[in-house]
Symmetry: D2
Subunit: 329 residues, 4 copies
């Protein structure tokens, strides 16, 4: 039996017993991609809890960096980066519920799949930026095209990195705001968490009727922090299943894998993102796993795991996790 | 001759020679207030450069905290706080221009004007918050109603504070995003700068046709940092004049008073807000006042002035200023 | 009657009724300057509460930047910068007391007094630094020598700045640690607060018998934040009076001027320095001026004043102040 | 062949070919423990490169929290916490060298070994603290005694955690400063990195003749971030080997294990600690492994690993690591 059978999604999702329909959200269906996540755009698809969706995502550069000569400063126009598929309406999702998104698989898309990694001026963790505004000259601008297949990411003659795909940006619409797709926050957004790959389930707070799911920003692999500002960005065919957990009123996204539960926070400075993640995890252990609050807090001090998602975006993202075995009764 | 004659607004504004029309934006005209600042709402007024607008602003609690018994946690519903008037379209304003907003006067509004100051749970600079997420119990919730007139703010029997009104939230719409009215950023927003009172001119980057000006959040007075989270919030009649400076492509808001120019940054952590403000001021001195970049930087190290706007909102706001006398040729 | 008669120093200092002796701490007496502030160095002077000391301070570069050709990277050796006079023992000062330091006057020292301002590689608020470690190339290195007298700071042909001298670094020794003179903290240290000039009284926590006072780092003037990393650094003759306030167990330095009381915090990020300063001020109002804690907190939100000292040193410094008139009973 | 044969310590250490002497640094030999790390204390031992030292460490509470009734606020006196063994002089170590410290083994010490975990008022990541100074009431104070052996950490009836011992505080003396043992910085200090356990080699910058090694603060296990402020603190018998790498002039500590190299940074805010760690790793790859700087930066964005050490101490600690396989020529 797969661990999925005991996942929160499978145990509490309203669509758990349905036999899922499969929907395609290809380029033709999507037509217009979105650069802001909010309640003001037209839904492209309506699905039911439990359904499967096969999504053709574009890379974070909207496909405009075609060769190593296509410098970002020339071919990109802000804020038109990180295009998102969606919004997808999920029947029955209401404010106060959680939307479960199980990533089933991610495959490189296109006839000759290549990933792209860029050094973008005034962007990245080891550079002055629009927020950490300095008078230093920007770093050199660089583009790297990398062959990618499901066996590996062919970084250089010297180094082949493992293919570890994940979704960088996953969101339900906020209630009133419309937030650019570069920013992570309570709605999800551009979290860039390497854990959000095939086999993971992300739970997002629902703030509008139908949840309005957005998805995009596939990475073939990414290190902790996405330190230079970009991962191996690629266009993907990503298959997800969605479900609705009624009355699970989350404040921040959460993530489940076979062995771990994780709470996710996004903020600046980085300690605030970490505080959010750990506090959410403490409260989760208290509310759903029978832990005394202080026992949970002190025990996480001995066994908590921290994953740095991005620390280059307008808000930084941190996941705080615990091994599920410590949550068994 | 008033200093206004030599202000940037008066020297470079396209409406400088027009005899202004005066428009009223009262409650009836406004009808529906806004809690998010973006391109998706219906304009309530269209004016021409140089025009005057008399705006009836509501207090940041949307008038719902009527007595000291009306605890915020009972009468307020997030995110429906800090209601904004607007959007106001200004003819001729295009992306790449700056909108000048001269605050001419601010008066308490209503038959028995009172201001309101609250301690809101998990909000404020000396408390754990939604972002600085802690396990401490929240501070006590408190409401203070304060009589206000144009002579003073009657804080207590012991203390009368001077009436120093200013506008807390002033914005032009972002291009794509719609940002809640609690957050300051490049578009302006909830800066809570005490300098933004009668006699000041604020310059905002225009990102959409017509600028889409929003205004609200009047304060009868406020200390640096707005440390408890709220000022003496009141409903006001605020009279502004607006103008358009063509081709002045600002990245962040700026402010002018009789004796000072100020650049404004909003970010977390607080040093990033300060960096933005000072960098913008260095570049301004270089681009428009004949300073060598390094001379400007080193001289501001000797004479720059820093104002802390808010350090309680989702982003903190800092103004970096210089005495105009040092900018004369 | 001078306001000093009603100062905390004069009202509560044990030496208030003594007729002060005057001591000279000139170069000959000091002999060896200190680059670290702690309990391990030999006292150079012992004085009594109420005494006056005339101190010959060296500039922060230890006099090694003699011309605009003396680049810091060539003539300075870390950590041998910011030389301090002292330690001075004050009779009767014990851990748990406060040491009051009234700066009576500051004069430029030497036959042809010049100040020095430098751009030091990888130092300053708008540059990558040793702590905000980036891959950008450093800013250009620059030295500026500036004529200084008690009438003005002759920055350039275009600009003469006012002579506003103050002491950048003022400390009592920590109990066990010895802290480099570049870092401000609870012991005082390199606060770089423009308010710490003639007419001010600083109160420092005493942590060792005799207090072990260190002083240095005179500035002819300085803007808020000392943004480029250095002020107009000069060698001075600084006259101080010291006194002991028994049993005033401060956690952080405080400052008094004719019209203001200020609490001082030093930390990173900058919001933590500001939090410390404001919290100390709230507690001070509660403990010594009859304010309810929440009333003090809410009122400072309306009338508190923030001064940014340095935001370039290993910790940033902020003062939070209140007008004394609001503290009258 | 053990991987140690190819470690930097074994390849470059001056003592690599010596047959090591074994020294005992037990309680009797240590006599007086240290709470500050600097050049002013008396050495307790002198060893030669390659030598082995068996160290009896005390727990971070100096053994004063003997039962769950011994509340820290009653039995501890600041700054007398986190006692350190040492200083140990290593022959031949000079400023500009690196000291290698290989932890060979760590065993619980005492007849009935128990670890201690505390919630200390105004300390910990999810609480207001001395630096993040708030007006909230402190969290409840708590003490937890935990049985520990080399098989496990017996947290509760429900949970047994794995025994994963490591050294929390490891330092060479700074040149002039003496830094309390709670603070991590360039000298090492209280890094609280779970990777610093048996099998690891830490490389520390040498700043004084003989290096003056300090060691203490053993943990039976610890989660990422040490979120509640304390690990399972215990007294240990820790066996180390030390060696000297001549002319390896490090700015910050580094760490080597069988499969990973890691650079370590300590700073606030947390992003600054992370920046230091990643920058040091980029430069290391450039200087010693034949990587182009920008290639290293972009590749770490795909494969870098981040470990959060502490985020509760006066500075936060982050390690940035890379798998050694990517460094092979």
């Amino acid at each position: 039996m797969s661990w999925l059978q005991t996942s929160i999604m499978q145990v509490r999702g309203t669509g758990r017993d349905r036999s899922p329909d499969t929907h395609s959200l290809d380029e033709a269906r999507q037509q217009r991609f979105h650069f802001t996540i909010g309640p003001y755009s037209e839904p492209v698809l309506q699905v039911r809890p439990g359904d499967r969706i096969v999504v053709d995502t574009r890379d974070a550069f909207d496909g405009k960096v075609r060769s190593e000569a296509d410098l970002p400063s020339r071919v990109l126009t802000m804020p038109f980066v990180n295009p998102q598929n969606g919004p997808i309406l999920v029947e029955g999702a209401e404010p106060g519920d959680a939307l479960a998104v199980h990533i089933e698989s991610m495959k490189p898309r296109g006839p000759n799949p290549r990933g792209t990694c860029c050094l973008i001026p005034d962007f990245g963790a080891l550079s002055g930026t629009a927020f950490t505004a300095l008078l230093n000259e920007p770093l050199p601008e660089k583009v790297r095209k990398i062959d990618v297949d499901e066996e590996g990411v062919y970084w250089s003659r010297r180094v082949t990195l493992p293919y570890r795909p994940h979704i960088g940006t996953l969101s339900c619409s906020p209630e009133l705001d419309s937030i650019n797709s570069l920013t992570p926050d309570q709605h999800g957004g551009n979290m860039d968490l390497p854990d959000m790959g095939p086999g993971s389930i992300t739970y997002l707070p629902v703030r509008t009727p139908g949840a309005r799911l957005f998805i995009g920003d596939a990475h073939a692999c990414q290190g902790d922090g996405e330190v230079c500002g970009t991962a191996v960005e690629f266009s993907s065919t990503t298959t997800i299943r969605v479900d609705v957990v009624k009355g699970w009123n989350l404040q921040w996204p959460r993530l489940e894998t076979e062995h771990m539960l994780m709470a996710i926070g996004s903020a600046r400075p980085l300690e605030d993102a970490t505080r959010i993640a750990y506090k959410e995890l403490v409260l989760w252990m208290e509310q759903e796993f029978g832990y005394d609050r202080w026992d949970a807090y002190m025990m996480l001090s001995q066994c908590g795991k921290v994953r740095l998602g991005n620390f280059v975006d307008p808000k930084y993202t941190v996941g705080a996790g615990i091994d599920k075995k410590y949550l068994q009764p």
